[in-house]
Structure formats: structure tokens, C-alpha cells
Amino acid sequence: MTDARDIATEAGMLAPEGTHHPGLPPAGIRRAPEGVDGLTTEHLIINMGPQHPSTHGVLRMIVEMDGEEIVSAEASIGYLHRGIEKLAEHRQYNALGTLMDRGDYVSGIHGELASALAVEKLMEIAIPAKADYLRVLLSEINRIASHLVWFGTFGLDTGAMGQFLYAMRDRENLVDILEGITGARMMFNYVRPGGVLADLPAGMAAKILEFCSGFDKYIEEHHDLLGGNEIFQHRVKGIGAIDRDTALAFGLSGANLRGSGVAFDVRRERPYAAYGEMEFDVPVGSTGDSWDRYMVRMEEMRQSNRMIRQCLEGMPEGDFTAKVPRVLRPPEGEVYAAVESSRGETGIHLVSQGGDTPYRFHYKAPSLYALQALEEILPGHLLADVVMIIGSTDIMLGEIDR
């Protein structure tokens, strides 16, 4: 029988002898099929997705299994590729937000904000304080809404259906609030270079505060319903552990990185909008398993709720947008602007050569990096854990495929 290492080396899957690599090869062969009592057995190669209930969109995992145990996993993506980066080269700077909405479609504000920040950095536009506060307010409302979708579908992956609909009830309130402010439920196009589209409508602040005080109670109810369940804890504790080095090597960001014990939050380390003035904690996990990621995200929702209150209390008077020309023509240059989106560090790398449209618009999607780490951590787990780990990393296919 051929040694697994030989097969893998022949296929170019292992690093040459002596070179350092942080993890085992992704999509590599860990073990050759091994027979029991001389009988040859085959590994089952199963195609999970793109139409599978738990791959969160159109992800396709090609999973090689020995019984129910994963031997290797390979992600196949591109089913939602719309060429956002190419399209952006043909859009004026004002229109980039609409494209970003369709990237990470569950937390559109963050994408819009990233593109707006990049343009502002390039043009050196000063933003009124009120716009900064509104951006933070909307970002945090959108973060809770997005985390609630994650929370619901994560429970759905374990087979628990109840808390999904409870989470959707709260999200519905948030989406109503977002609709009241921006006019749209998901594709907001609210954050523009120079400021935001509109001020809070009359009575909206009271409505948001009402939600906040209700959510203090509901978040604990959600946590009790799912996280307090022992079956759920057995399903997530110790599952899909990503240690600190692997997390850094695979470029994870956001809650996935913080779950692995790295306290890096773009809002804290590279403050943008009004985050410098906000008081919030950055929750950090220790072992990096699915449970830590779960706890980090739950705590993030509580912190977001705290920040929404601070925004409403400290909302300054004044304009909600700076005076910007109708057609933006930034000077030549290259900038990178990042925001902490619901899924991690969403970055926009913008290259301008003058003119109405970007020369190159690169969307750094945090989910893409989380997806690569999946290929590394899935082997050794059971099939049922695959959906749990995909769920716990909260990947969003819209921004992976772009």
C-alpha cells in the first residue's frame, strides 16, 4: 500500500521536506484508504451543495469521507460570481455603495461604509460629526440584524427550529427600523461618500430605544434557548477549534479571529466614523472552537446594543452630509479602507487614476478567508460537524464570490 504522504507529495499537496508550513495541506490526502481484514474500502466522496440546506447560500463542499468522518474537504465557489470588482470599474464613485450592498447582502451598511471611507480617504473629504454618528448607529443596527440571521441559521444547522423564528422576529423589527431610516430593507444605498443619505426621521430615535430595551431581555432569552441547551453545547464545544496561529496564518478576521484569542477589532484598532468616541468591549475567546465563536458573537450583539444607545444619546446637531460635488473625481492615488463588518474586516482597496470611475476596486471579503480555513479544520470531524462549523464561521457567499 502506498503511503499517504507519497500520494500527497506526488500530487503536489505537501510542502517540500524541510519547508515550514503552518497547517496541513488543504484539500490534501491525510490517509490512504485502509482496508479491514484485507478488504479494500473506498472513501465516499460526497458533494455538499450548491443546493444544500445548510451551506448558507451556494457554497459547494466536496467532502471525502471515511464512513461519517471527513478525510478532506474542498470548497468550490463561484456560483454567485457577479463580477462586482469589474462592474465597479464602470461605475461612478457614488454608485459603489449599491454594488457593495449586493456583496455582503445581510449587512449592507458595512460594505457601503467601507467603499465610502475609501473614496473619502482618497479625496480627503471631511465628514460632519452627525454623519459619523449616523454611520455608527446604522452599522450597529445592521450588525445586530446580521448576527441574528447568523444566530438563527446556526441553530437551524443543529436542527433547532424554534429560536430561528424568534431571532427573525427581532430582526424584523430591526429591518423595519432600517427601512424607516434608509427606505430599503436590505439594499440600503444609505452611506454615501461625504456623509449619509438622510437624517433620522421624526420619532425614529424613540422606536430604536424601544427596541434596545426589549432586546436586552430578548438576547438573554435567545442565549438561554440555544446556548443553554445541553445538546447544543455538546454539539459545539471543542468542535472546529482554530488555534491562534492557524487563525492568523489563514487571515481570519472579525469574530472568528477573536474567538481564537486575538483581540483585534478594526473598530478599536483603526477607529473609523465615530467609533473612537464609543465605549464598548471587545469580547475574546480562548480555544477558538465553535462555542467560543458563538459566545463572541452573542456578546457582540450586547455591545452593539450598548453602542446604539450611546449614538442616540450623543447624536450631535448639524448636517448629515458634507458638501460634495455631484460627480466625484478623486485625484490619482491608492488607498485601503477597512471596516469591521458583521463577518470581519471588510476592506476596500481602491486605485484611482483620476476620472469618474475607479481604476481598480478590490473588495477584501472576510468570508473568503474564513472559507479557506474551513478546508483546513474540517478533516477529522464528522459530517454533522461540517454544517456546524460552516455555521459557526458565519460565511456569506455573496461576498466570497463577489
Binding site: A11, P26, E74, G78, E85, K86, Y336, H349, V351, R360
Partner: protein, 153 residues
């Protein structure tokens, strides 16, 4: 935020490029290297005292004459960032840096596919986003609509 330039020069000299072009731009600190030394330079950066543990981002740009690859590194312990750039010709072969930064696995595939490059030393150098036969979309020569199509709209 910005790492020490002299330390970087020192690391790059060890990696085989003593005359690297280091500039401070709106992007941050940008080093432009020859394509042949990028892989060794990245490995050196990761192992160095600057501790660039993470490749945050990897992208390509079609400059009109060649493809510019840009690697964005970050050190979490020192909170510093650096951008490494190199320029390669169209249709050329780039060597994978996944041994140093596994996070480059998919962005490399994507960049190679969308700019029409070939990957060497990559464990899985398949196309990532589009199907076989699709032209390199992000090259400036590839148009999303031809002039005729625009007229016919």
C-alpha cells in the same frame, strides 16, 4: 502603524533584494520588489522580528502594461502593516506563497484566473470563480459590453 524602514531594508537585503523601492504613500508603507524575490521576501517577513503573521489581502491590478500584484501584510503583535508589490508580465507564471501564508490559497487562484496568470507550486491551481473558457475578466482589455452592445441597448 508603519514599520521601521531600516529593519525592512535589512530583511529585504537578506532575502536577496538590496535595492528595494520603499515608499510611504496614502496606502501605507509600500515596497516594490522583483517578482522572483517576493516569495522569499514574504517568508523572511513572516519569520522576522516584525512578525507579519497574516496576509490580510492579495490583489492584482492591470496597469496597462503588466499586472501588479499587491500583498498586504499585518503584524498583530506590533500592530504594523506593509504592502508588498511586484509587477509581472501578462500571461506569466507566478509562484505561490501558500507555504508562508496559507491565506493566499484562494486569492491567488482568483488573481491568477481573473488576470490570466498561471500559478506554480500551488496545491490546487484550478479556476476559482468562473468556468473554463472565460477570458481573464479583470484585465483592462476585457470589456463588459462591446460598443455594439451598448448601441443595441
Amino acid at each position: 502603524m508603519l514599520p521601521d524602514e531600516t529593519v525592512i531594508k535589512h530583511i529585504l537585503a537578506d532575502a536577496g533584494q538590496s535595492d528595494a523601492d520603499i515608499q510611504e504613500t496614502a496606502l501605507g508603507l509600500v515596497c516594490t520588489l522583483a517578482p522572483s524575490v517576493v516569495a522569499s521576501a514574504l517568508a523572511a517577513f513572516k519569520e522576522s522580528e516584525l512578525d507579519f503573521a497574516t496576509l490580510v489581502d492579495l490583489m492584482g491590478t492591470d496597469t496597462g502594461e503588466e499586472i501588479e500584484l499587491s500583498y498586504h501584510l499585518r503584524s498583530f503583535t506590533r500592530d504594523e502593516e506593509i504592502h508588498i508589490k511586484c509587477r509581472v508580465a501578462y500571461d506569466s507564471e507566478i509562484s505561490s506563497v501558500w507555504n508562508t501564508y496559507p491565506s493566499a490559497l484562494m486569492p491567488e487562484r482568483e488573481t491568477a484566473e481573473l488576470f490570466g496568470l498561471t500559478l506554480s507550486g500551488h496545491p490546487n491551481p484550478k479556476r476559482l470563480l468562473t468556468t473554463d473558457g472565460v477570458e481573464p475578466l479583470l484585465r483592462k482589455s476585457s470589456v463588459i459590453r462591446t460598443l455594439q452592445e451598448v448601441r443595441d441597448r
